[in-house]
Symmetry: C6
Subunit: 82 residues, 6 copies
């Protein structure tokens, strides 16, 4: 993500939206710890620690909520009863 | 979920929506730790740790919130006073 | 909850909505640790641990937020200024 | 809260809404640990532990978000630009 | 905040809204630990602990979300495409 | 951020919105620990601690959710099915 500017929150599919949520979660770590070298040292640790994995999944979940709303939940129709 | 693409957030029932929320929470762990082998080693640990179980339940709750909104809360009618 | 299918998020009262939020929070623990035996072993531990109790209360709060929105906050009137 | 049924999320003022949020957060602890005796034992501990205090404040914040939305943020006018 | 009643969530600017979010987060600590004496003892500890500082920042973030919504995000115009 | 007043939540792009979210998260730490000296001492610690990095990323995620909503998700069109 380092070199990418975040241009839009719109994605074609929920799958792409989820991938974007993962990137936004990683970006939050990158801005706090800009050194790629240090992040590489930390990665083997947290990717084997259960609580860190669940915590990372939670950050993704929050971003996915934002992205899903941005995409109007990828609905292609409006529910009749809306 | 590894082989499934996330195509839609729409489900027939809240029960199915909850099941999807569980999958999205697991997916967040999978993208951070892609090795199925390592995840299998971690599983017996966190599934017996109270704090990990509650944390996992929280990630599910956040995704369920997103999915419920996507499905307009599975309402089949609009409240009169809306 | 094990035997119940989640049919609807609609409840008659906020009190019933809160009870449903509690069930959804428990369901998240159950899907991660399906063994009722192991959950029974864990229960005396976490129900005497302050941080676990607060964490459990937080998961309930997130689900209650979803359920309250689903029920349009159990409003029976629309505020004039809406 | 033990004896009170939660009848409505509507309150006269934000202050009352905050008080209700506190009650809902406590209620989440009560349903997980129904024994008042045990809760009384835990209270002196967590009320002197910084992380527990902040965690409790967070649960209140989530409920306050729900209650504020339910009350349409206690607005008495609609912003012109809405 | 102890002596102030929370009268409104409306503020003139985002800056004022952020200040209110800080107060609401503190209020959550105060209701759980009403003794100002004990809170003063805890303060030097948590204000030098990284995890506590981030956790406090998170509670502020949740309240700011509520207050921003209450103020319709301090928008003075409606986006054309709304 | 110390010298900046928060004037608006509106930004030109999602990238700028993310940068603002980072600032709001830092601001929450600053109000709780106003001493820049102490914060500088803490920084090397938490920026090498995995759990702190993920927690910081989560606070950013919550603020980004608020800012994204404020900017109507930077949409330049309304989905047909809205």
């Amino acid at each position: 993500m380092s070199n990418d500017q975040l241009q839009t929150l719109l994605t074609q599919t929920p799958e792409d939206g989820y991938a974007l949520a993962v990137k936004l979660a990683q970006k939050g770590v990158e801005v706090t710890q800009p050194s790629e070298e240090i992040r590489k040292l930390l990665r083997p640790v947290y990717s084997r620690d259960t609580d860190s994995l669940i915590a990372a999944s939670q950050v993704i979940a929050i971003h996915f909520q934002t992205i899903a709303a941005a995409n109007n939940y990828w609905r292609t129709w409006t529910p009749q009863y809306y």
